[in-house]
Amino acid sequence: MELAPLALSLQIASIATLLAAVLGIGFATLLANVRFPGRDLVDVVVTAPMVLPPTVLGYYLLVALGRRSGIGHAFEAIFGTSIVFTRTGAVVAATVGALPLVVKSGRAALEGVEPNLVRAARTLGAGPVRAFATVQLPLAARGIVAALMLAFARSLGDFGITLMVAGDIPHETQTASLAIYDAIQEHRDGAALGMVLMLTAVAIAILYGVNKLTAARDAR
């Protein structure tokens, strides 16, 4: 069995989930708690990766982060390596794919907290940040953790966006999903089957965990 693509997938998915957690919980909080002009637009833009074809998303990312773009240029000047067609690009691809899951589920979890509990915290002298950190966030925690687990599964399985933005470079950006495709093309069926079973096992384990978490929340 080929372990290198699996290890790379796990590494990329872990970093991507971390990034999606920070960005996603930030957006979820903003959308759930703050009324501001353009809120609906932000919601649409952040969740668009859920419905756009991966190639379309990949195209946008290539344009935005490519070596000739402002961001790509600045990144290369600072870190000496480009974003696209590197491991960084694979992380960006996986993060963008996972972000909508965190924002959507995170927002629902935050909005599901009884509003009077947050109001009670405010009347008890808590500023908006303390009320969020000590009441709203802990009570939404199960939902948010479930969202992060789904985000991890999504990152682990990304194919299209990764291929567009990071290519299919062995040991650099060739994640398990890409390696499975290559193995099938090259008639290495055994190698493909090994990775297929591994990814399936991880995905099922995660779904089982998410169901456990959300069932416990409903029972409360």
Partner: protein
């Protein structure tokens, strides 16, 4: 030295409200039918709802003044608010709930002692390390009152806190609450549509209807002389079945 709470507020968006009344230290009952604006009035005083125009003061302090654009945020007003739903934090023990609103300059030990004393006063000391999910209606009520009083409030607001309780429990709690409020001696607004509750607790009554103050006076003046308590209470929907 506690000062009067003076409320003049107008709300024009959505619910229409236009109220103007003063609450001296002691218990004033805010009385009126459902939808008369009682809860909205409390939310405006607490700072949870911003009025379109008006002025809210407590003693010398201005909490809201649309004329000079003053609007002190909720958490700096020091109001004790007991919600109809109680809003106990389900992930914290009774003691943690009570300690939540205490001055954070106090050390942990002082907070713990004070929480224990408050829970004791409301006869729920045995619940200290338990979470609200396991409390009975009356127990949750008592913890909510202890929590509200833990903040050294300037004003106390109670939004039909006993509506979910049966009559016996309600009478018992009213007696305990009356003693605590008497001791506290701050402007207190108690929302109810139960005449009996109004009579037991209130020194004064502000009667609201359709978002306007209809009458202000003593309990007898506004609600009439006490009649047979059974008559007073029974037809007034003790089980809350008539409320929406």
């Amino acid at each position: 030295m506690p000062g009067d709470l003076v409320v003049r507020a107008r709300l024009a968006n959505g619910f229409v409200l236009d109220v103007d009344f003063a609450v001296p230290p002691g218990v004033t009952v805010l009385f009126g039918p459902s939808g008369s604006g009682k809860s909205t009035t409390l939310a405006i005083i607490a700072g949870l709802v911003k009025p379109t125009a008006g002025r809210i003061t407590v003693g010398e302090d201005v909490w809201f003044d649309s004329g000079v654009r003053v609007n002190i945020p909720v958490h700096l007003r020091r109001v004790a608010f007991v919600f109809q739903s109680l809003a106990l934090f389900p992930h914290m023990t009774a003691r943690e709930n009570v300690e939540y609103g205490m001055d954070r300059a106090l050390d942990a030990r002082a907070r713990g002692d004070r929480a224990a004393a408050l829970l004791e006063r409301f006869r729920v000391a045995h619940l200290a390390v338990r979470k609200p999910g396991t409390f009975s209606g009356g127990e949750a009520q008592r913890v909510a009152l202890a929590r509200a009083l833990a903040t050294s409030p300037r004003v106390m607001l109670l939004d039909e806190p006993f509506s979910a309780l049966d009559r016996e429990l309600r009478t018992e709690l009213l007696a305990d609450l009356r003693a605590s409020l008497h001791e506290l001696d701050i402007p207190t607004l108690f929302v109810t549509h139960h005449r009996q509750e109004a009579r037991v607790l209130g020194e004064r009554v502000v009667k609201l209807d359709h978002g306007k103050v209809q009458r202000v006076g003593t309990v007898e003046e506004v609600l009439g002389p006490a009649r047979d308590p059974a008559f007073d209470e029974t037809p007034l929907d003790p089980d809350g079945l008539l409320r929406p």
